[in-house]
Amino acid sequence: MAKYTPPEQSRALQIVDIIFLLVAIFVALWLPLKMKLAGAAKEIDKIDNPTWENLKQSPAQVVQWEKLGFDPAKAHDVIQSHFHYNIDWTALIVMTVVLVGYFVFLFKASDREYREVIDEKFGSNK
């Protein structure tokens, strides 16, 4: 295979590439935060007039809560905040398809590029 000579990239295009990457990084990381998509939903199962008894804390646990500066009212939100896990199968299938599709594309496209690398380094079998 003939040695491939890449074009030189101008200074201006290098700056364009850097800006593209910066924007992509910020959009990928910041957008889910901005759209409040990040984080699992926890719900507080409220108890009126909380006491250590109705918060189901044993005497030993109460001692530790109090050493940390909590009373039942202050500890209520921490103790009663719960996940309610349920699997959304459609979303799980979408996530699986996106992930598998990504890796399949990655390995196939990489292999195409890798063959060019190997051909130039070692010579082609063809």
Binding site: Q14, D17, I18, F20, L37, S58, L68, V78
Partner: protein
């Protein structure tokens, strides 16, 4: 080998990274990055599934990372080049995969650095407020922490990792002192495991909570694979890298077990699951001001050591991308005096500073974990391809990991379970991040790749891979 190029891509000088590191610095790099995971982050797995779930995922994630360390040691002891797994992917899978792996590394380490800065800043602010300081704001501490460490990294790798060795050792010692101070051999005196974990609260969400807990269980050990980033600066990579990585993994397995035992025995699981400072809280519960002060410093030092190692690793991955023209060659400059990839170090700093202000601790941790798990999935396939393209005996390996392909299969299955765990809490973020990787992959494959010199991507003195 390493070359700095002007923005035009014209070589102007040949300055290589300096080979100055030994196994001690490799251990410090790996453990330094990860140890902060014992001081914060792992405990969010208790929130997802209870204290017992946090222990179960500690074991399984320990297994996952033992597979990572074994696989990584074999490949890295053979492919010793800056960029670690990036260089591995380039030689074994192909340029596009290498580009993605480098981005996984940069994201995982930069977001870990963000988490470290948030932890240090929040703890300093909280302790300051407890001691009477009024109107303390954590923002200056966050920025100061990142800027000082960037300066340290700019000045030189040996000094950076020697500092890491000292502060990591001190942070680790604080965990050991706490462990032996609470008389772990006498349950009921200080520790009350049987009272904190009961049959009714051990697994409050059942087994689905255990799967969900995998998301943060990763945090016990995330980053140990960073040892390979310094491959090009190690005096004897075939010996130092496997030794430093394995020693680091053993150190961390011990620390994780001690940390869970002390924290789960002192904190009610609901508080354990939400606190940012589980070891500091555990020290507070002993009633000893000395232990409290010790764990304050242990937490701050572990965060600083981790951020320090993360800046080092993220910059080297970014530098490697520039050097191979996967990114503008401007990033591939080596400092003529300090011999560090200074432009990459400086470029990533504002990104880290921006995210300490816009993300909270568990969001930053999740960003880091997402890239980490994508990375480990790659590693499980990479080792299979490595053994297939260059079977044992065809090239010289510094280390050969046992039981192949069991560690690779196990690693792949544990990554799959972790993806489900992430889906249960942060599925939208996972999809957003994968879409990002798809977009930049298309950008690379159809546009950027034209600037890459094909034959230069394979630099190892190996025979042609089998099947090509």
């Amino acid at each position: 080998m390493a070359m700095s190029e002007a923005a035009s891509g014209t070589p102007v000088e040949r300055v290589s990274l300096r080979r100055v590191l030994g196994p001690v610095q490799i251990w410090a790099l790996g453990v330094g990055i990860v140890l902060v995971g014992e001081f914060t982050g792992w405990n969010f797995s208790a929130d997802k599934g209870g204290s017992l779930a946090a222990l179960i995922v500690c074991w399984f994630c320990g297994l996952l990372y033992t597979c990572v360390a074994m696989i990584d040691s074999e490949v890295t002891s053979t492919v010793a080049a800056a960029g670690g797994q990036y260089a591995q992917a380039k030689h074994i899978v192909g340029p596009l995969m290498a580009f993605n792996v480098a981005l996984y590394l940069v994201f995982a380490y930069t977001m870990l650095e963000v988490s470290d800065a948030i932890l240090a800043g929040d703890l300093i602010t909280q302790v300051g407020t407890e001691n009477g300081a009024v109107g303390l704001n954590h923002n200056p501490f966050l920025v100061l922490c990142i800027m000082v460490l960037v300066w340290l990294n700019y000045r030189g790798v040996l000094m950076t990792l020697n500092v890491n060795f000292v502060i990591t050792a001190l942070a680790y010692a604080s965990i050991l002192v706490l462990f032996f101070s609470v008389q772990p051999w006498s349950q009921g005196v200080v520790l009350k495991l049987g009272d904190m974990i009961t049959p009714s609260n051990a697994l409050p969400y059942g087994w689905i909570g255990v799967v969900a807990a995998f998301q943060f269980g990763i945090w016990y050990f995330l980053g140990i694979e960073g040892t390979t980033q310094a491959a090009e600066e190690v005096r004897s990579p075939a010996r130092s890298l496997p030794f430093g990585t394995m020693a680091g993994m053993i150190t961390l397995l011990i620390a994780a077990a001690l940390t869970w035992y002390v924290c789960a025995s002192l904190l009610p699981w609901q508080q354990l699951g939400v606190t940012f400072f589980p070891l500091y809280d555990a020290a507070t519960l002993t009633g000893s001001p000395v232990l409290k002060l010790l764990l304050f410093w242990g937490t701050v030092l572990s965060a600083v050591a981790s951020a320090n190692g993360c800046i080092n690793d993220a910059a080297r991955a970014w530098f490697s991308l520039g050097r191979d023209r996967y990114l503008p060659t401007w990033f591939s400059a080596v400092h003529p005096k300090y011999r560090t990839p200074y432009r990459s170090i400086l470029f990533l700093m504002p990104i880290a500073i921006a995210f300490v202000f816009i993300a909270d601790l568990n969001q930053a941790i999740t960003f880091s974990i997402l890239s980490g798990v994508l990375h480990y999935t790659f590693m499980s396939i990479n080792i299979l391809m490595f053994r297939n393209k260059w079977p044992l005996g065809s090239i010289r390996r510094g280390y050969t990991h046992p039981f192949h392909p069991l560690p690779a299969i196990l690693l792949f299955l544990l990554c799959a379970v972790t993806f489900v765990g992430i889906f249960l809490g942060y599925g939208s973020q996972l999809i957003a991040m994968v879409i990002f990787y798809v977009i930049v992959s298309l950008w690379f494959h159809f546009y950027r790749y034209k600037y890459v010199r094909r034959g230069d991507q394979f630099t190892m003195p190996w025979p042609k891979p089998r099947g090509y």
